[in-house]
């Protein structure tokens, strides 16, 4: 058992910046938890507090049932993969991976066995004698992972480990990290601001904003039932359409059922379709202003009724639409999200 439990954790940096404002989270043993959020929302700060690289200003952090607030990083039995990899530049790949074990006085033959095993898993065997300088970005990334897994820690911490790689390698490494974590069953906390990475990796997805948790849960739960306007706009690409609808309604927008009072209506581009299919409750009329074809699907950008709020509609395959065209799109009641414009919270 090695779960991580955060209880009302706060961080105030010297100088008064409150980077984390009371975060409570429970990460079960073996779970892959992903923290996402916009830049500066406190993701790294939270991760570094779990690692012990930043002091905790308030609340408690417990690993494996033991409060670690006052415990040194070395004694927390965690491993961290940094964005810039933080490999030791003067040591060979082998020594980079062996360093942590040597510091802990592991017997020599066991070090050798573990390093070779990790090198085999991560396919870095041919480079064991090289210095990090002589490796490509992807290979360095693997060595950084290797350095984390040889120690068999209780928790893996990742701070945007893939953001320095090109798009293709990023997808490949993302799949490998997922497989590796599944195989090792090590509790992991992973920070990213790439929401695709977040959706695909997470068992538990935590959306953070301004130092607080907006919503935590299974990725698809967040996609299907975002609890706040922020989460609704953050999860999904292209983002959910969010339209403020006053009590009196909007020209070009027909809503059969809706909560009373002014609301923010949310509808994902992929849930708007041109042919009515059954009991649609929403119909919008849009004047197309731009067409974006990405191959498998096409995104239509346009303003409601020609001059209202901007909306995005996804149509499958190739589209024949042209800018200036007037279209009608519908959506079913089950796909609509309503939010309170004052509190930003979901109305069910």
């Amino acid at each position: 058992m090695s779960d991580v439990r955060l209880d009302a954790v706060r961080k105030v940096y010297p100088g008064g910046v409150e980077a984390v404002k009371g975060v409570s989270l429970e990460i079960a043993d073996g779970q892959f938890c992903v923290l996402v959020g916009p830049s500066g929302c406190g993701k790294s700060t939270l991760l570094r507090m779990v690692a012990g690289l930043e002091t905790i200003s308030g609340g408690t952090c417990a690993i494996d049932g033991k409060v670690v607030n006052e415990i040194e990083p070395a004694e927390r039995d965690i491993a961290m993969v940094f964005q810039n990899y933080a490999l030791y530049p003067h040591m060979s790949v082998y020594d980079n991976m062996a360093y942590g074990l040597r510091n802990r006085g592991t017997p020599k033959d066991e070090i050798d066995a573990r390093v070779k095993e990790a090198a085999r898993i991560l396919e870095v065997e041919p480079f064991l004698a090289r210095k990090p300088k002589a490796l490509s970005g992807g290979q360095r990334q693997r060595v950084a992972m290797g350095r984390a897994i040889v120690r068999k820690p209780k928790v893996f911490l990742f701070d945007e480990p893939l953001s320095n790689l090109d798009a293709k390698l990023r997808i490949q490494m993302r799949v490998e990290i997922k497989k590796l974590q599944r195989a090792l069953k090590t509790t992991s906390i992973y920070v990213t601001h790439d929401q695709l990475e977040a959706m695909t990796l997470a068992d538990q997805l935590v959306v953070m904003n301004k130092g607080q948790v907006e919503q935590a849960g299974a990725p698809l739960d967040l996609y299907e039932k975002p609890q706040t306007i922020f989460v609704a706009g953050f999860i999904g690409a292209p983002p959910m359409n969010l339209v403020t609808v006053p009590e009196a309604g909007l020209p070009g927008l027909t809503l059969i059922e809706r909560p009373a009072g002014p609301v923010v209506l949310g509808i994902r581009p992929e849930h708007l379709h041109e042919q009515p299919m059954g009991p649609d409750t929403l119909t919008v009329e849009i004047v197309v202003s731009a067409v974006e074809a990405v191959g498998a699907e096409t995104y239509l950008y346009g303003a409601l009724h020609g001059h209202g709020p901007e909306l995005i509609v996804r149509v499958p395959g190739r589209a024949t639409h042209a800018p200036g065209q007037r279209i009608r799109a519908c959506a079913e009641a089950s796909q609509l999200h309503f939010f309170n414009p004052q509190t930003g919270r979901r109305i069910d």
């Binding site: 070395a74 961290m80 940094f82 030791y88 942590g100 510091n103 120690r151």
Partner: protein, 293 residues
Amino acid sequence: MEKRVVFHGKLLPFLLLAPQLLVTLIFFYLPAGQAVWQSFLVQDAFGLSTEFVWFENYQILFAKGEYYRTMLTTAIFSSLVAFFSLSIALLFAVQADKHIKFATGYKTLLIWPYAVAPAIAGVLWLFMFQPSLGLVSQAIRAAGFEWNPLLDQNHAMALVVMAATWKQISYNFLFFLAGLQAIPKSVIEAAAIDGATPMRRFWTIIFPLLSPTTFFLLVVNIVYVFFDTFGIIDAATQGGPAKGTETLVYKVFSDGKSGGDLGGSAAQSVVLMVIVIALTAIQFRYVERKVQY
């Protein structure tokens, strides 16, 4: 598009380089050439006749045990100064790197000694350690230790080592601090997570990563001790007592000026020149390769 100014003709580049070339020529190559020429000559005691003697000056120089003694003195002096000024500067730099909050004041204080002229540094230390009146000497005596750099060679050596070290720490400190700040913080953090104690982190990560800086400073410091400490020695001990603090560069001066042996003194300065050229060559060769990781 990159904009480029193109000069036609060769005159302008030469004119622009001329002042620097002239300065180098007049103040460096000319005296160096003179020294080499002089080292092949012998003057009689009254300066009336001069004779060209090829390498006789060098033969005499290397035949005398005295010159080797001076070499040994210089070696001891420079190793001590290099060792202490490098290690103390590194210690200070590590502290400044940690508490970067107060660093500005701390750094300013540390840089002051570098602005003090060598001769003044010598006099300053001489005053503090002057056997009968010096403040520090009185304290040392009060502690029951018989301190007298005017009579005891080891005490004199300690005095000039302290003065020369004190003056060089600032320079080394600045380079070490810059070197420390160039080490990514995450590398140190990774080592901390990897279970290395602060001491172990220093010796296995920080120190090796600083080695290019250390090597560069080592060479610079040796050159400094060889030449720039002349003022300190002249002001503090004049090479005494009984030549106990006479370094190679001080001997050039005392043999040439007081001893009147211009040829011998020129030969010594040529030897020194060769040493510096060798040191510089080593620096260029190895800073690029061996010490890099």
